[in-house]
Symmetry: C2
Subunit: 113 residues, 2 copies
């Protein structure tokens, strides 16, 4: 499958991986927008948020859970952080494998883009 994130998951393309478990992989964003900017992806390919099915809910929730875990590890969980998912072109999605952006280490403005 010609998917950048699947290739990272399969170790066909290098990435700065910061967390891996059976279901999820997380790696540093190559164009960071905050002191911590990690991309968290399910290992199973799902193209967009529109493609989530009822059977996927725990997998999708694990993205937030992983974000919180990384925030705690890095020491900014109490100060705060933002998680963002973009769907399709107007949302700003550039890789069509669902992913959560975890951004922390600075204050975030509103609205979120």
């Amino acid at each position: 499958m010609d998917c950048l994130f699947c290739k990272i998951i399969n170790r066909e393309i290098p990435a700065d991986i910061v967390h891996e478990d059976d279901e999820v992989l997380a790696f540093n964003d190559i164009n960071p927008q905050a002191p911590t900017h990690v991309v968290i992806v399910p290992k199973r390919h799902i193209a967009t948020l529109n493609d989530i099915e009822e059977d996927d809910l725990a997998l999708v929730g694990r993205l937030q859970y992983t974000a919180a875990r990384l925030a705690k590890e890095r020491g900014f969980a109490d100060d705060g952080y933002r998680v963002v998912m973009n769907c399709n072109d107007q949302g700003g999605q550039t890789v069509y494998h669902i992913h959560m952006h975890l951004m922390g280490g600075r204050r975030f403005t509103w609205p979120a883009g």
Copy 2:
């Protein structure tokens, strides 16, 4: 409990509710930042993303699932949208009951705040 969103869920405070099921409530943001700006909350009180436990993953994933469902209903799922969750002060969290912002109907910039 002195939680604004719990009061909305319990119909003690009015809100412009756009979706309800056994686990989740969604209502229009009172200070919208996009043509569609809906706040999606679990009915069960969880203060911040840091408080999510493994048992909560499907409930949390249902926030994204509900966002996608609403985007489809409103006709902007294919064009795209953004979902955001803020944790604690630096993230921009103002109500301490976890909630997902669904924003659609316009193009979103990067970074997300």
